[in-house]
Symmetry: C2
Subunit: 263 residues, 2 copies
Amino acid sequence: MCELLGMSANVPTDITFSMAGFLQRGGATGPHRDGWGVAFYEDAGYREFKDPHPSIASPVARLILDYPIKSRIVISHIRQANVGQVNLGNTHPFSRELWGRHWCYAHNGQLAGFREALPLSYFQPTGQTDSEWAFCWLLGEIRKAFPHPPEQPEVLQALIHRLAEQLRTLGVFNLLLADGEQLYAYCSTKLAHITRCAPFGPAILKDTELEIDFAACTTPQDVVSVLATEPLTTNEEWHIMQPGELVVFQDGHCRARLLSTAG
Amino acid sequence: MCELLGMSANVPTDITFSMAGFLQRGGATGPHRDGWGVAFYEDAGYREFKDPHPSIASPVARLILDYPIKSRIVISHIRQANVGQVNLGNTHPFSRELWGRHWCYAHNGQLAGFREALPLSYFQPTGQTDSEWAFCWLLGEIRKAFPHPPEQPEVLQALIHRLAEQLRTLGVFNLLLADGEQLYAYCSTKLAHITRCAPFGPAILKDTELEIDFAACTTPQDVVSVLATEPLTTNEEWHIMQPGELVVFQDGHCRARLLSTAG
């Protein structure tokens, strides 16, 4: 299994604090030694940093911690391989362009019989993982349903929820997905989130000795939501998601919550 | 205008030496202060590093120089903006997936009337540059002609040459394009290349005080070709390309050379 980390914020925000704890799980407090990656949406742009080495020993990870990048959406993943070799081509997050937007995707879990169950259309995987295959299928289904972006966000949210529910029938499918505006998070077995806003207080990381007082580095208007496979801090109350639940964040706020209709 | 750098090699090769000179052109020996980026093909994988800041002041550039990444194909670009703001979304190289391969693209020059002359199909730009628009058009035309990769490389080379010639009629179009196996380089006004193989000798950079003896860090089987807008070294003979010329490198060797049939 792997670990996921996501962020949505209403102002460009530096995720260094959460990353400092999260990256410890890539070989120190967690067994996820098979590569890691992070994607940042900044202004109109998008960039990824990936390394097929354990995050605690990665020069690229050190850069990310030393060079705070301010962005409104972040998706990060540390990998413990099951399907597909340990190499750069199988390292999350994955991205494709749809509707002139960068879509970014990271997956925790594994899927059985994915090649037969998920026929591909517009997008093809470049690596060997079940995860990237599922992403290509998911985005292809979205494009088939909507050659152009739908005007109502609800219809896209409903489609993504339905597709994620279908993927969950193949195994474990915890998902982070973003298009530059929305951050979609789907829980199959394990995902948690927290929204921080004024009045901000201190937070203490679980995975490394680090404490921050968010009051000192925020304004009263800031709203920042963080998602992770497991809560990253010990002194805050995280919302533990239910199996089959999709949440949609925009500008730091939770905009929609769709629950499973499966039994 | 911008500057291009490319590499094709038959063994995973570290391009730190060439990058050390090239990145000086991003604010020191050259005026290209509007961002820079580099893409590496490594094993089955692909990764990019981009920064919208001048390369001589970029922490990401320092990482690349300190953390030698060995790859078989590299494309890099430093930008002096003409069309599109200075931001991450307009920073080269650009990439898209076609046929389950990462295609990477960087452009030097500018194109007039590109929106009208180049109707898009499968791929859409995410930023505002003429360069990314032309890439989306070019790759869309390839996909329209070949829904699956053609068996004969010559037919794809001929198509890319024809499309590049068409782009050159709109202005200046110096190109580096790669699909993970081939590196295509098209010269509209300015592009040079050199192939290094045994017996290797010393090389002296033009843009910074640095000399290397390739004999000390290569084996007799290594073949490495480097492309750049202008020669990077002072003591070697670079091949200066002709307007309308396309060269195709694979595994460090020049596999094909197509000349312009225009007047």
